[in-house]
């Protein structure tokens, strides 16, 4: 207890303020080379003063209410009816809240994405509409009941609450009805989901590879053969950004691109990869999202249905572009990984693809630069072989 006695309030406050003033500077400000910007203490003081005045205001109002309450009681009246006041606030909250929710749904609701620009996106939007109508109905009914009951059944001396411990019939009803509604949603959702996630390759699909890295995407289009060459992450180097395997004949004509350009109404199959950490290919206009996972290639197949030009007309925005974002936290630059996606007609696509550069300058890769990493890779492979042998030995013994 001794140390408690020695530490009186004044000293504690002084110590605390010293900690705040010097401590934060010492602890947090290590290694700041740039001169800190000047703090406008007057402005800070202004806000602090505002806050103190607000607190004082509340305290004064509180005191006035207390005095008023006491004076009412002195006159033999009941005092402020706080309980009724709160009940009325519930009613007011209900009315204002419903109005605000309606405003938000209409005004902010219209600031959301334009119509789906892909075939499966239309299914998702229909599903969304049905779910919205159902949940909004439940939302409005239950909130009205919640605050309506709160207001209507506010405390009254004349009344006694109704002793109603349970009612099996009504409980069964409101267990079974949500169960049925949810079953319907599950069944529709399940089939929609199966359809969306079917990414099996069919002849004629445009296979495009997109590889996430910190902080950007590498894009690779197949060449004339329509096939993407295989990649191996151990082959990645400054020239070969995705680790394209030059021994694979399909690799030789692969193209690199800066923008995702797809022909309209043609199935596109995205081959999604990641190099360092998890990224996510998110193209909200197409209702499309799939994570890019290192070591686990993923796919998403979709059919774009509205060209960029058409969407510009529909949204009445001459600068409209479809965009691709990263949607899985991946580091400090996570927010800054957009790619433009452009949906064009078949003819425009053919013109565009003809202009794209080959991914690697095969067959003459810059040998000396490539060699060094290759040695490393070879060493790695050797190690791997050794490991395998060792494991086999272990197994045999």
């Amino acid at each position: 207890m001794g140390f408690i006695k020695g530490l009186n309030l004044k000293k504690a406050i002084t110590l605390f303020s010293m900690f705040i003033l010097f401590g934060t500077n010492m602890l947090f400000a290590q290694g700041t080379d740039a001169t800190p910007a000047k703090v406008d203490w007057l402005e800070v003081g202004y806000y602090v003063l505002m806050f103190i005045i607000a607190c004082l205001g509340i305290a004064v109002i509180g005191k006035i209410l207390k005095v008023y309450d006491l004076s009412l009681k002195m006159q033999g009246k009941k005092g402020i009816k706080w309980n009724n006041f709160m009940a009325f606030l519930c009613l007011i909250f209900l009315i204002v809240g419903l109005a605000a929710a309606y405003w938000s749904l209409t005004v902010q609701g219209s600031m959301t994405l334009p119509e789906a620009a892909s075939k499966h996106g239309v299914d998702i939007d229909n599903m969304f509409l049905v779910t919205s109508l159902l949940t909004l109905t439940v939302f409005f009914i239950t909130q009205i009941l919640l605050f309506g009951f709160s207001f209507y059944y506010r405390k009254s001396e004349k009344r006694k609450a109704y002793y109603l411990p349970h009612n099996n019939t009504i409980e069964k009803v409101w267990t079974v009805i949500p169960a049925i509604v949810l079953t319907v949603l599950v069944v529709f959702g399940f089939f929609t989901w199966q359809e969306i996630e079917n990414s099996t390759e069919v002849k004629g699909d445009l296979n495009v590879e997109i590889t996430g890295h910190q902080f950007g995407w590498y894009l690779r289009y197949p060449g004339k053969d329509g096939k993407l060459g295989t990649v191996n992450y151990t082959l990645v180097n400054a020239q070969n950004s995705v680790g394209l395997d030059t021994k694979d004949p399909n690799s030789t004509d692969d193209l690199q691109a800066d923008t995702l350009v797809f022909p309209v109404n043609k199935p596109v199959r995205l081959n999604i990869r990641a190099h360092d950490v998890i990224h996510s290919v998110y193209m909200p206009h197409f209702r499309l999202q799939q994570n890019a996972v290192p070591g686990l290639p993923t796919f998403f197949k979709f059919i774009p249905t509205i060209t960029t030009a058409q969407m510009r007309v529909k949204t009445d925005n001459s600068k409209f572009e479809y965009l691709l974002y990263c949607n899985k936290i991946c580091g400090g630059g996570h927010y800054n990984m957009q790619k433009v996606v452009r949906i064009v007609t078949e003819e425009e696509y053919l013109v565009w693809i003809a202009k794209q550069k080959p991914f690697l300058n095969i067959p003459a890769p810059a040998k000396p630069e490539v060699k060094a990493p290759e040695v490393k890779v070879a060493a790695l492979n050797k190690d791997a072989d050794k490991k395998v042998i060792a494991n086999r030995l272990a197994l045999n013994n």
């Binding site: 506010r154 990645v236 909200p284 999202q289």
Partner: protein
Amino acid sequence: MSTLAVHDHAVAHHDEAHEHHHKATFLNTYVFSQDHKMIAKQFLITGITMAFIGMALSLLFRIQLAYPDKAFPLLETLLGRFAPQGRISPDFYMSLVTIHGTIMVFFVLTAGLSGTFANLLIPLQIGARDMASPFVNMLSYWFFLTASVIMLSSFLVQKGPASGGWTIYPPLSALPKAMAGSGEGMTLWLISMVLFVASSLMGGINYISTVLNMRTKGMDLWKMPLTIWALFLTAILGVLAFPVLVAGVVLLIFDRSFGTSFYLSDIVLNGQVQPYEGGSPILFQHLFWFLGHPEVYIIIMPAMGISSEVLSVNSRKPIFGYHAMVYSLIGITVLSFIVWGHHMFVTGMNPFLGGVFMITTLIIAVPSAVKTFNWLATLWRGNIRFTPAMLFAIGMVSFFISGGLTGIFLGNAALDVNLHDTYFVVAHFHLVMGSAAIFGMLAGVYHWFPKMFRRMMDDKLGYLHFWLTFAGAYMVFFPMHFMGLDGVPRRYYAFTEFKGWEHWLTVNTFITWAAMLSGVAQLAFAYNFIHSIFWGKKAEQNPWNANTLEWTTPVEHLHGNWPGEIPTVYRWAYDYSKPGAEDDFIPQTVPFSQTMSSNLPHDFEDNPGGLEEYNKWTAAHKASEPVK
């Protein structure tokens, strides 16, 4: 049947033992206390402190979101290199969202909520002298405090705290070079979390064994208040799910520090090929969400239990459908273990699995709906008394509805494709488990404050606190749904600077100001809380006229809770406004023989002897009644 003879035995020794052996010192009363009531207060105060820190962090990143291109020199003074030139850096922004999430989910709404109310209410409401193992209980608190201190200390390391999001998905969290926060900050996060889980397990085992073994005479499981049911099932969830998180965390520590490849494969970082092979980042997600999803029910179930109790007491009505409430809690407990995959619909998990998880996820909405309807039915024809606790319980129900309904969107795999990781998700979980759970917790604080601190909190400040927070929270989270529907991803540092999203800037500013308002409102709570501890109005023994056992203990705290014998329980906890009874409440300790005029045949379902007595009494009573 369910009582233990041990009690009486313990009682006999208790009083004298107390006098002789323990000398109450400052250290063993306030610091290393083994008394469950003191440990509850320790959890509460630590939890509230963490909540204020978590809230402050959220206000910092809200400032960045509302004013992405404005410099606040004060921030540099306060945060130093984390906010160069008065602007929060992108890396520190990530740290802020990560630590905000971690603190709120684990330190406030798990430990702060369960820790406080399980410790306070379990012994008091089931009629026990203390927890099954008071020493382990004390350890539980100290592990929690240590974990909190370590988590906060990560703000002091050179590169800042962990910043991979509260879900810390590898490889981002596994590769120290992947981002600033994945270095020492991440190490501290992992150490803190291991200690936290240890704390949580020690607490949970204690809660379960106390509820199962130490109920007083007559307190069978079906007479327990819903708070105890909720806290009991929460503890079971925690004990079964938290170890899986430790497994995940330990493997992550191995990957980070010992060169294993549990979660890593085929990695090229900054152009450098890494020697990891054969792991799977998806494995971590499975392990994490195997805890992570039960975790959200660990958070919300105590809030549900508290709200059920508070709604019933203040409506002066029995909780509607007590059995259905218990069965829905059990249903949620069981189902919560098989829905974790709905966090992983688009992560590369097999799409067929996604379909299965969608079915289980939407099933869990049924017990949740039942609970909501039962709460509404409890209010119906009640005689509602608006204490601050009651308002917070009503607010909890409102948030649970609003947030729960959007869960139907997100649980649907097809819809989740476009909503996953957008602001729609942020809005959803902040309403359904953030705001709803914190409102449940605040309802509990206002309701049991007199039990904890022997004084009353100020009602008027409570009202002010409620309305500002309630309106503020809706203003913050409601508009976020629409940002999500516009495809705005979460955890973006400065999205309003991009073309196509500028129109959200005004909304973002509005949200930030609403958040500030709610933040300031919490100061009213802090003032009320601290002021009332020392100078509040003295509490009566049963200020709310409630039925449960804790209000039969004396106002003065005793080590052992009840002087003399522990009262026997005769009835359920919800006999409010029973027709024929004198008062509008009949405490659990009142035998049916004393309330002949209000007994119902239903009260004697498992008690043929009692039913006979009842029939005899009603027959006699009817005969003697004058004919009208």
